[in-house]
Structure formats: C-alpha cells, structure tokens
Symmetry: C2
Subunit: 98 residues, 2 copies
C-alpha cells in the first residue's frame, strides 16, 4: 500500500510502533486498523537516498487493502486490459463490520 | 526506488517494456539507465485499488540507486538515529563514468 505521512503521524508511528498515516482526504491522523482491526506493527522505518520517501517494513494483521486484499496492487496491465490478479482474503463488509 | 510517471512515460514503458519515468526536476522523460546502464526491464505493471499509484515489477540491471546501492531505501531509523544499512554494489563515479 501507499499512504501519506506528516511529521505528527511519523512521530506517533516511531513512538508507538503502530503505524499511523496522515489522511489527506479527511485531514486527520489515520491510525491504520482503527476501524478494521488490520493494524500494522512497525518493524523498520527507512528513508530513501534523497530523504523524501519512506518505506515501512511492517507486520500486517490480515489484509492491508480496504477491498479485503493483502495488497492494494491487485490490478495488472496485460496488453490493453487491466486484470484483477488477486482475490480478497475477507469480505470488506465483514472487515468494516457492516 | 520511487519515481514519477506521466502519461507519456507510462505509454513508452508499456510499449517498450523498458522503464521510463518522468523527471519532475528536469521536466523530461527519464529513461532509467540511459546514462548509468542500470536499466529496468518491465515484468509487470500494477495499479493500486484507487488507481493513483503504480507498482512496477522489474528486472533491475545492477543497482537501482544513484549511490550505487541496489535499493534507495538504505537509511534506517534506529532509536533517535538514522543508520546506513546497506553498502554500494559499485562506486557511483564508476556508474556514471566519471
């Protein structure tokens, strides 16, 4: 998955070792798994060579994606089509307790 | 590594299967490996769940990072320090023929 962090979410993540992002759409801290239970335990936080991208190595509880898939990157380009290449581990309605 | 693409770089990448990014600083197509020889052969191109992030699975020739490291993500946060956790495969001066 790809998500955004700001200083506050980064500081919280490093302090608690539970991953917290910054939701740009909701303009608030997004404690990953808060509503779904699919938390991320931080193993290591890395910065890239020019220091503007972070890579988080995590222990992921269940799926990371809101669609119930392990990864958000489940659409593959094949020729002139986009094909879904992985299936949900769990029904998203179940994930969010609907 | 993380880099940017625009429509033109994406179309070229899919057509040639040699990865081409968009350099925002230079405002031009960045054919990865053009000066260093460290090209990326596309294996699969994926889109994420909301279609605003791409994940490229590639065969990387040598290091991907301009520092001569395999990966750009070689700085790890350890306590209150940032520690370099991988060493270059090759001297960057050699990489760029200086």
């Amino acid at each position: 998955m790809m998500a955004w962090m700001n200083r506050e979410s980064l500081e919280e993540t490093l302090a608690t070792e539970r991953v917290c992002y910054w939701s740009r759409s909701r303009q608030k801290l997004w404690r990953k798994g808060e509503s779904s239970g699919q938390v991320q335990q931080l193993r290591e936080l890395r910065l890239d060579c020019d220091g503007d991208t972070l890579l988080l190595l995590v222990d992921q509880t269940g799926p990371a994606c809101h669609t119930g898939r392990r990864s958000c990157f489940y659409n593959a380009v094949q020729g002139d089509r986009v094909v879904v290449v992985t299936e949900p581990l769990i029904d998203p309605d179940q994930l969010y307790g609907k």
